[in-house]
């Protein structure tokens, strides 16, 4: 009887410990010295959450950069392009992002907030071509806001067309 109570109490306590606080209990266990801890999050989905990876290549507005362990802390704005993630298993995953921000934190932690990111395989070239034609039409007609939006769309679609096969 007392053993049962002890068991339930320890279960409760361990559940309380595991409950996340607002302060983001980010496993303070050290990141292995040759890995980088990646958080790749979208508003409606977390692609990578506290996953140790080997290398991440980012398409930044200042140019492409590859992030390895112990990279200097930096903040980069992302342009439409492909993020390569080299996982621990050796496999490389590619995601096309339309934009966002990537921050390398001190302690080999890489935080990426992207608005949209999808695996490159998921895109269909026909749909890209159709949307490109549409955007090119809108870029030269319509109100100023519509034209600017169409130009942004063109930028994303052209980067996408270069990547999708």
């Amino acid at each position: 009887m007392s053993a049962l109570r002890l068991a339930t109490r320890s279960v409760l306590r361990s559940r309380q410990l595991a409950a996340p606080w607002r302060g983001s209990f980010r496993g303070y266990a050290e990141v292995p010295s040759d890995r980088i801890r990646l958080n790749l999050t979208l508003p409606h989905q977390s692609i990578y959450k506290d996953v140790d990876v080997v290398q991440v290549n980012l398409p930044a507005t200042t140019g492409d950069l590859g992030v390895l362990a112990n990279h200097v802390p930096t903040v980069e704005q992302l342009r439409p392009g492909v993020i390569d993630v080299v996982e621990e298993s050796g496999a490389t995953k590619q995601f096309f992002v339309s934009g966002g921000f990537a921050t390398v934190q001190p302690g080999s932690l890489l935080s990426i907030n992207a608005i949209e990111a999808f695996p490159v395989e998921d895109f269909s070239p026909e749909a890209i071509r159709a949307q490109l034609a549409e955007a090119q039409k809108n870029a030269t007609s319509g109100s100023e806001i519509d034209q600017v939006e169409a130009k942004i769309e063109l930028e994303v679609l052209e980067a996408l067309a270069a990547v999708a096969k």
Partner: protein, 296 residues
Amino acid sequence: MSSLRASVRPVVQAAKAASYRSRAPANAYATLREIESRLKSIKNIEKITNTMKIVASTKLSRAQRAMFDSRAYGETSDEIFKKAETVPATEGNKLIIVSSSDKGLCGGIHSQISKAVRARLALEPDADLVILGDKAKIQLARTYASNIVLSFNQIGKEIPTFAEAQSIADQIFKLGKKYDSIEIFYNRFKSGISFEPTSVPAFTEESLQTSPNFSAYDIEEDLAQDLTEFALANAIFWALAEGHACEQSARRSAMDNASKNAGDMIGRYSILYNRTRQAVITNELVDIITGASSLQ
């Protein structure tokens, strides 16, 4: 002799009662109709609140999933401010963003968040207000109407999208006023049955650049502004998603209570209805029997 008296007495009593009842037999019927219609309407209400409870529970499960995703997203966005140890400015123009919604019947959601905002405004009466959702606007406009600079509606119908949060942030920047500190008030989801009005700061360019640990970062000059604008949109998105989940859970428990209360009332009114119905029948019988025996 006694039997004669016994037979006379009930007749006299019945006659007395009959004269009393003849004054108001219609009353008893009207009361019966009233009870019947109340009973019918309470049964309808119980059906409606029950349906609303079921709808709220389904929406809650989806809203909770969206909330966890938005938490991961918002926390990732917050990382840099946490690592740089940014603190909000204490002076200057202040903006308070209140995250609420348009619909009611969700317990204390809107009144609690409005109470928290009013408490803050008592300390900083010059702060500007941006209100997301009609319910909070109605409550805050009563006392702080002059502080409201912007208000949005059509909030809370579905799970909030990032596009909504982005356009809200965009409108705030279009106001053109430079704010030194921004705070977002929202209801934080503690559990399926409890929530807590909370506030988080959304840091501005200056507070980021003057953070103690900012020099650790290799960052281009003009990126700080873009970063803080992006972070504001992320924070608004997070607040909207959590508020949405809190609202669905509060609506579910409110409708659950309402259905239970309606069920109780149905029980009470059914008993009352049956008793009244039987009383009416008994009165009619007494009338008939009195009439019949008086003829004899």
